[in-house]
């Protein structure tokens, strides 16, 4: 995830499958939701800056994890990437073509390639449709994807691929458990053979023992179909497990980006450090020697973010400079010349901190 400034070097560490080209590129994405006042004559009194200048790229076959707390804009990023929402400004290039400028047929064709898996398997499946209809519905919208006579066979294949019994095509969603429903959602996402799947909190609603089954399934499908994932979650442990590269969001902005090990083992942004230190680890022995940073206060409103650095109101390093100058997402100038701490971090005082994550 090299970000806005083009001088930032390629992330350290070898990519898992050798160097791969960027399949999706987001540049300076902005999404503001207007706040209006008045019933008859509406006037805009402000805007919720849900996403406020986010740039990243997704390479073929990799998983890009996006983490952040509620209200940081990560789900809005998912909606923008899947064209469910149009950005206020900025561009999203899929294989070089700007998605945000397309309309009509071209846009529809492009959407085939970017599919979404939703968080809540209880509300994202229509209770009145059978599983076969749910998984086959993408073929109604994109008839060119599968000839009519073949659809039923394809649906059964898809169910089999996600580990559901193909005999279940005529059942309804309520007859399935949460984990099985999420498998149905994944099968629907796969139906059009997309190249990119955007998964917004795909395992958050599931029980722990079932979560692992779905995560394993997503990893297997990635290898099998050469999928690229944007994996959005608030659970930092799950994101570490599945991601090759990770971006940390706070209040509509990316504050730190890097490979999984750069972010988890060598975080330099104070917010990332606080976030990681707050995640409990299921091991009292490891927990004992850990540095804990407990932040004060809550996330400010995205309608009225703080000046300068948005994290400064909760940051223990903040000074006058942070209130005036907004730190860009860049590899910090100070610090070591080499090594895993050299990755983009939007902090004037970016620096590694020991014992955030137990070793």
């Amino acid at each position: 995830m090299t970000s806005a400034p083009s001088e930032s070097p390629a992330p350290a560490g070898p990519a898992p499958h050798g160097p791969r080209e960027a399949i999706l590129e987001a540049r300076d994405l902005v999404k503001h939701y207007p706040l209006t006042q008045g019933v008859v004559i509406k006037r805009q009194v402000g805007a919720v800056k849900a996403v406020d200048g986010v740039s990243f790229e997704l390479r073929r076959g990799e998983t890009l994890g996006i983490v952040g707390e509620s209200g940081c804009g990560k789900s809005t990023v998912a909606k923008l990437v899947t064209s469910l929402e149009a950005p206020t400004s900025g561009s999203i290039r899929f294989k070089g073509e700007d998605v945000t400028r397309l309309s009509g047929r071209a846009r529809k064709a492009l959407r085939r390639n970017i599919q979404m898996v939703f968080q809540d398997p209880y509300t994202s499946l229509n209770p009145r449709m059978t599983v076969g209809d749910i998984v086959g519905e993408p073929f109604d919208i994109h008839p060119e994807a599968a000839p009519k006579g073949e659809r039923r066979r394809r649906v059964r294949e898809l169910l089999d691929v996600v580990g559901l019994n193909p005999e279940y095509v005529n059942r309804y969603p309520h007859q399935f458990s949460g984990g099985q429903r999420q498998r149905i959602g994944i099968a629907r996402g796969l139906a059009l053979r997309p190249e990119i799947i955007v998964a917004d909190e795909p395992v958050s609603a599931l029980d722990v023992s079932v979560q692992a089954q779905v995560v394993n399934l997503m990893e297997r499908l990635q290898d099998e179909f050469d999928l690229s994932y944007i994996f959005i979650a608030h659970d930092l442990s799950v994101v570490r497990h599945i991601s090759d590269r990770v971006g940390v969001m706070y209040l509509g902005k990316l504050v730190e980006t890097g490979t999984e090990s750069e972010i988890y083992e060598h975080p330099t942004h104070p917010y990332t450090q606080a976030l990681l230190s707050a995640v409990p680890v299921p091991d009292p022995a490891a927990e004992a020697g850990r540095a804990r940073i407990v932040l004060d206060g809550d996330v400010p409103s995205p309608a009225n973010p703080p000046s300068g650095c948005r994290f400064r109101t909760r940051c223990w390093k903040a000074d006058e400079r942070c209130a005036k100058e907004e730190p860009p997402l860049l590899v910090p100038g100070a610090g070591p010349a080499e090594g895993p701490a050299r990755h983009p971090s939007a902090c004037h005082y970016a620096e590694e901190k020991a014992r955030i994550v137990p070793e």
């Binding site: 707390e69 497990h241 988890y264 707050a278 680890v281 009292p284 407990v294």
Partner: protein, 349 residues
């Protein structure tokens, strides 16, 4: 699994009851729900004890019976369809299942209190938080409105709500999620209860806020020397704060152990499966060892050991014989016929 009673010291409002028994002692509790499809045994012979100043974590997935156990102890079970069909709930030596409704009510809130997961729906949206907190003192202590308000502000300060005096007149929706959970904690603490039951208190919160709230809860607990039952599905949260853990599966406790022992060497295959299946922040693994299958429906719990259809180490005896909760070393118990082999294996690794 009772332990020696630590010196509780004189607590205001206590004094009656046997001093050798634990604060709360649940014996063989059974709760059934009558549904259209049959009788679901949500809690099936659960026993545990909590001492003053101790934190017991009850860990389980959805449908394991952990919340129903809490509701039965609190006496707020939805009834019907729920019904306590057996067992005893000894609180400070008295069986709460045998006392009058009025007596039960005087215990609830004053001597044992509950913190719920979803503060927004647990608080009254049309009454200011100062009034809601003050009501505790008006109803239970007969305080005047003015005194109650002052006490409410004091409580809000105690749970570290900034500008408490100014914010006491605000309504629940004007507070953030973390602040609302603090108000819930304040309400639970109001009458200085001896026991607090927290049902997933931080599940709805972001991690940085979760850390704040858990810290606060732990501080207040040691300050007041309360017993705390922490109900959760999160193995991570528990590791940090609990003294002992009880793991529930399909309505039964399948393992109890001091927190360190349980993580070091689980004595039940289900606990082990849970620990192996969660991705860890400090590890980058390739494949998660998922527990196969799904938790059973409470309408048709498998015979024998209820975990046997999912157990990687299942043997013929598990299909028929329901394992009792075997004592498995100091302060530990496991409902697995083969707990000893499991522990030996883990020690050998």
């Amino acid at each position: 699994m009772t332990r020696t009673q630590p010196d509780r010291g004189p607590l205001p409002g206590t004094g009656t009851g046997a001093h050798t028994s634990p604060l709360l002692h649940v014996r063989d509790l059974r709760v059934e729900f009558r549904t259209r499809d049959g009788v679901a045994t949500a809690v099936d012979g659960v026993s545990f004890a909590v001492e003053a100043g101790e934190t017991l974590a009850v860990l389980g997935e959805s449908g394991s019976g952990k919340s129903v156990t809490a509701q039965a102890v609190m006496g707020i079970l939805d009834s019907p369809p729920g019904r306590v069909t057996g067992g005893r709930i000894l609180f400070d030596g008295r069986d709460l299942l045998k006392v009058s409704a009025e007596e039960r009510r005087s215990v609830r809130g004053a001597r044992m209190a509950m913190i719920f997961q979803d503060a927004l729906s647990a608080l009254n949206p049309v009454v200011s938080v100062g009034r809601q907190l003050g009501e505790m003192f008006q109803v239970h202590r007969g305080a005047s409105r003015k005194d109650a308000w002052a006490k409410a502000v004091e409580l809000m300060e105690r749970v570290r709500i900034p500008a408490a005096r100014a914010r006491a007149g605000d309504y629940p929706h004007q507070f953030s999620g973390g602040m609302r959970q603090r108000i819930m904690i304040a309400m639970a603490l109001a009458l200085e209860p001896e026991l607090i039951i927290a049902d997933e208190p931080t599940t709805a919160l972001d991690v940085t806020v979760q850390a704040q709230v858990m810290d606060l809860l732990a501080d207040l607990q040691s300050e007041y020397r309360m017993g705390l039952i922490l109900i959760t599905h999160d193995l991570g949260v528990v590791a940090d704060v609990a003294d002992r853990i009880a793991v529930m599966y399909a309505g039964r406790i399948v393992e109890t152990a001091p927190v360190g022992d349980l993580y070091r060497a689980p004595a039940h295959p289900y606990t082990r499966g849970l620990l192996d299946s969660i991705p860890r922040l400090d590890q980058k693994g390739q494949q998660l060892n998922a527990v196969k299958g799904l938790p059973p429906s409470l309408l048709s719990v498998p015979p024998g050991c209820s975990f046997h259809p999912r157990c990687p180490a299942v043997r013929p005896v598990c299909h028929a014989d329901e394992p009792p909760l075997y004592e498995a070393g100091a302060g530990r118990a496991s409902a697995c016929h083969f707990w000893k082999e499991l522990l030996d294996d883990e020690c050998a690794e």
